[in-house]
């Protein structure tokens, strides 16, 4: 029998993990990427990778608590069985990466060192210098190179995935792709296709993402009928350096080590930050959140920084929005010992030494919790059957999704350092299911399918390419269209959302989409034409952009990264104790009603006219019952107590 052929689209952590595991299982892997896989976006991750570990265990941590933190952080929007499987695998994944040579930081005794990240009390985060993502990526890249040398993996680097080849029954039988240098368009047969193409920050113009994160591959399978889930959940990181080309992340650890966030009380005070006296500074996080100060969680910090600039007009600069993140008051030796890597990024790109002067920062789009809808098979104990072909499979038979472009693990908000582990886990775990799927394929392998099927799809994409090349000169400039799309999406669909604005933006995005269809390339050549590739990717941003807007518009609540002030429940503000109690009970009633309505996965599919249609799917919350995320809510303690009593009453009621 011919060997099983699997196509992996994307060579970040997820795609590489899948490729090496599939090669080990003796599949014939084709690995495709826009860039050399070693240059994939995963290289950007700085902070680290989470798992429960020997040390945290002794302080009371467990896989179950990692599960709990992840679900709580995600506002309980995840199906719980896949997350359970993930956290139980996490320690083994770190061990494996350790064996593969990842240069994890060490303790003096030679064990792996860990640090603490947001959303937990435990030091769960292993790290490798200031470039954990890069180090993990390289270890997997090296393994895949080894399989390439032995003939198990064929790389298609610098190729653009254009679309699926599906047989008459809808099964994926391969793809069509284009070589970005020769511009050759080719059909590549495969028995299963795995999409591992990462996030879609490009839709927001500038973000913390890399240039290749346009969402193009995902959009293309979405347009072919795959479902897309929880699009409206987009994580915004509070502290990034505004740049002309990219918004570069400044890690949470700057605040962890004592960095303070402030703005001058006098709007746009022109003096250099160091010359502004203490009492003329507004340390707004410390003032408003005395308990947590600068270390409030990501979504809260983001919202406050945004408000201080947008609502209160206190941005440091007039022309663009930013606040100060200041470490200049801290001792230099400490900064050099603990934050050198991060401060160097600022210095390198801004040409200013943050040890001497406050940094200018602003929130930036960072991560997409939403992604391709995919399946799993639950077992009785609450975890997964990883041999099931349903594992990570989308609704299109033979199409799988892993990594940042799947939606399964982070719910409404991702915890720091949980993404890298989820990418590697989904990559490793998809392999068994893919093999089971291919083994059970009726009507033979892709290699035995009719050549006409592949030729027809190839011609369709060739025609699309030719159509773009031949467009009239008078069309709009694609770079300006992208800039406007990005600005609009960033304005209405990130930190704070209002229905009126979302609705208006939807109309404007429709118009921009029309413009993008007429965008003329300024390069008509047929050799390394990046311009045409850009125009095509731009066009494909719109179905996802509209799905994000529509999902956000429909979801009338606040959950995780999705914040609509109109629907924010009021806290407990009465003085009278009985009244306070009543308010707390009312709060809990509202919480439960809201969950009954909105604790649901948004599942979008495109109809015939390309309009996203939304459906809502129950979330499997069978392992840990959802509870309110009460951060910063007035009277939170009381609400927590009232809610706990309710749950206890119910538990007692259930007992015979």
């Amino acid at each position: 029998m011919a060997k099983k052929r699997v196509l992996v689209v994307g060579g970040g952590l997820a795609g590489l993990a899948a490729s090496m595991k599939l090669a080990e299982l003796d599949a014939d892997v084709s690995l495709m990427s826009l860039t050399r896989v070693k240059r994939s976006h995963s290289a950007c991750a700085q902070g680290g990778i989470n798992s429960c570990n020997d040390l945290t265990r002794q302080l009371g941590d467990s896989e179950w608590r990692h599960l709990d933190d992840t679900l709580y952080g995600g506002d309980f929007l995840q199906h719980q069985p896949p997350v359970k499987e993930l956290v139980y695998w996490a320690p083994q994944i770190i061990d494996l990466m350790d064996r593969l040579g990842v240069t994890f930081n060490r303790t003096p005794e030679g064990f792996r060192d860990q640090r603490r990240f947001g959303g937990t009390l435990f030091k769960r985060t292993a790290f490798a210098g200031a470039t954990t993502g890069q180090q993990l990526l390289y270890a997997l890249d090296e393994q895949v190179r080894r399989w390439q040398a032995s003939g198990h993996v064929t790389k298609y680097e610098s190729w653009d995935f254009l679309g699926l080849v599906q047989d008459s029954s809808g099964r994926c039988r391969g793809c069509v792709a284009q070589d970005l240098v020769t511009m050759e368009i080719r059909a590549i047969p495969a028995d299963a296709v795995i999409i591992a193409s990462g996030g879609c920050g490009g839709i927001f113009g500038r973000s913390t993402n890399s240039v290749a994160c346009t969402g193009s591959a995902v959009s293309r399978v979405f347009q072919a009928g795959a479902r897309y889930a929880n699009a409206e959940f987009v994580q915004v990181h509070p502290t990034a350096i505004p740049g002309a080309d990219k918004l570069r992340l400044i890690s949470e650890s700057a605040r962890g080590e004592g960095g303070r966030v402030w703005v001058p009380r006098e709007p746009q005070d022109a003096r250099p930050p160091g010359a502004i006296p203490e009492k003329e500074r507004l340390y707004f996080l410390e003032e408003r959140y005395p308990k947590y100060g600068n270390l409030v969680p990501r979504d809260i910090a983001t919202r406050e920084i945004f408000n201080v600039c947008v609502k209160e007009g206190l941005s440091v600069d007039r022309g663009r929005m930013c606040v100060y993140l200041d470490v200049s008051h801290l001792p230099r030796e400490m900064l050099d010992a603990k934050l050198a890597g991060i401060l160097e990024i600022y210095e390198k790109f801004q040409g200013v030494d943050p040890r001497a002067a406050a940094m200018r920062i602003f929130p930036a789009v960072h991560y997409s919790m939403g992604g391709l809808w995919c399946d799993y098979e639950r077992i009785a104990e609450g975890g997964l059957n990883l041999c099931s072909p349903r594992t990570q499979q989308t609704n299109l038979p033979g199409l799988f999704a892993i990594g940042e472009c799947d939606y399964q693990y982070h719910g409404a908000n991702r915890l720091g350092a949980n993404s890298l582990v989820a990418c590697i886990f989904s990559g490793l775990s998809v392999a068994g299911g893919v093999i089971s799927y291919v083994n059970s394929l009726p009507n033979g392998l892709a290699a035995e399918q009719s050549a006409a099927l592949f030729a027809a799809e190839r011609r369709r994409h060739e025609a699309r390419y030719r159509e773009i090349l031949a467009r009239a000169d008078s069309g709009p400039n694609p770079y300006r269209v992208q800039a406007e799309l990005g600005e609009l999406m960033t304005r209405v669909a990130t930190v704070v959302r209002h229905n009126g604005e979302l609705e208006q933006a939807y109309g404007r995005v429709r118009e921009l989409e029309e413009e993008a269809r007429r965008c003329a390339p300024s390069d008509r050549g047929e050799w390394a034409n990046q311009n045409v590739v850009f125009v095509r990717a731009l066009q494909d941003m719109f179905p996802l952009a509209r799905t994000i807007l529509k999902g956000a518009l429909a979801r009338d609540e606040c959950r995780g990264a999705h914040y609509k002030p109109e629907f924010e429940p009021l806290g407990v503000d009465a003085a009278d104790p009985a009244e306070r109690r009543r308010q707390a009970e009312e709060w809990c009633d509202q919480f439960e009603q809201n969950n009954a309505r909105w604790l649901k996965t948004t599942v979008a599919s495109l109809d015939r006219d390309g309009e996203p249609q939304l459906a809502y799917e129950e979330v499997d919350t069978s392992l840990i019952p959802p509870r309110p995320r009460l951060y910063g809510v007035a009277g939170g303690d009381l609400i927590e107590q009232a809610f706990a009593e309710r749950q206890a009453r119910r538990a007692a009621g259930r007992k015979p």
């Binding site: 090496m20 080990e24 860039t35 050399r36 070693k38 240059r39 994939s40 976006h41 290289a43 950007c44 083994q92 770190i94 061990d95 494996l96 350790d98 064996r99 040579g101 240069t103 994890f104 930081n105 060490r106 303790t107 003096p108 005794e109 030679g110 064990f111 792996r112 490798a128 210098g129 470039t131 890069q134 180090q135 090296e142 393994q143 190179r145 080894r146 040398a149 240098v181 890399s210 240039v211 505004p242 740049g243 002309a244 080309d245 990219k246 390198k348 790109f349 040409g351 490793l428 400039n477 770079y479 300024s522 390069d523 008509r524 050549g525 050799w527 390394a528 034409n529 990046q530 311009n531």
Partner: protein, 283 residues
């Protein structure tokens, strides 16, 4: 709209001279673009503006300049080019600094040691071929659960981390007098696969460069990698190996990741000598 004549709100513009080439083997030519100055610009954003304008300073419509990039924060190694005569990453090349160094104009050229595909885009396959050659990986038995990796001291970790930050950007190769360009052309009837094999064979025979030598050190110091150290030393001492290094030490000066290349070369040299002796005694 003529970008060269544009001076919106009195914004300064500056000239960017780019050495362009349409295809492999075709004639290279200089072209000038005018770009309006913005705060926080780097060479990537300059190239983005050039793509948007797609017009030369004379107002002639041209195709956007082609170049490679991804991370935009100097961790992916994609955007190497020669900027004002110096090989470096475009994403960390800040416009204000460049204009201080050389007022009025910025000059961009493709790397000279690799075949130009188009404009600033070059074919760096040879870098990755060297990683194949030296078997730059940890040869684990399987991906099953076998417990944690070996314990390592902080010093070992630090040293390994220095080497493992290599992002295969090629700066060290561009600067190296011993690393010479290899440019083959695909024959009329030659398949892509056959052409690739021919390139790999040619790369294999010529100098691997400092980055690959450092990778040998990285993996030969890894507790598991060590077990197959002899294979890597064979590669290191074969044709195209460390004996080509003339110790000019240009490489270490241009490495954007400050990888201790001269240290790696010195150590690898010592290990290669021991290896040769051992092979000689084993005979």
């Amino acid at each position: 709209m003529n970008a060269g004549a544009r001076a919106e709100g009195g914004a300064r513009s500056f000239i960017v001279r780019v050495l362009r080439q349409d295809r492999p083997g075709s004639e290279a030519y200089w072209e000038s673009h005018s770009v309006v100055h913005e705060p926080d610009m780097n060479v990537i954003s300059v190239l983005q503006r050039i793509a948007e304008q797609a017009r030369t300073v004379e107002g002639k419509r041209v195709a956007p300049v082609v170049w490679e990039c991804n991370c935009l924060e100097e961790v992916c190694g994609a955007c190497t080019m020669i900027i004002n005569g110096r090989v470096r990453q475009a994403c960390t090349a800040l416009v204000d600094r460049l204009l201080e160094e050389r007022p009025g104009a910025i000059e961009l050229r493709p790397m000279t040691k690799f075949p130009v595909l188009r404009d600033l885009l070059v074919d760096r396959t040879r870098i990755f071929a060297a990683l194949h050659k030296v078997k730059a990986w940890v040869p684990v038995d399987s991906y099953h659960h076998m417990g944690p990796g070996p314990r390592r001291s902080q010093d070992e970790q630090q040293m390994a981390y220095h080497y493992s930050k290599c992002m295969s950007c090629g700066c060290c190769l561009e600067a190296c007098p011993q690393f010479l360009k290899i440019e083959l052309t695909r024959g009329r009837d030659e398949s892509a696969e056959a052409f690739r094999a021919r390139c790999f064979a040619a790369y294999d025979r010529s100098f691997m460069g400092a980055h690959a030598i450092a990778q040998v050190e990285l993996f030969n110091q890894n507790p598991i990698g060590k077990m197959s150290a002899r294979e890597r030393l064979d590669a290191l001492t074969s044709e195209g190996g460390i004996q080509n290094c003339g110790n000019a030490q240009n490489c270490v000066k241009v490495c954007p990741k400050d990888i201790p290349l001269t240290r790696a070369i010195a150590l690898a040299g010592r290990h290669a000598t021991l290896h040769a002796l051992r092979n000689w005694f084993d005979r």
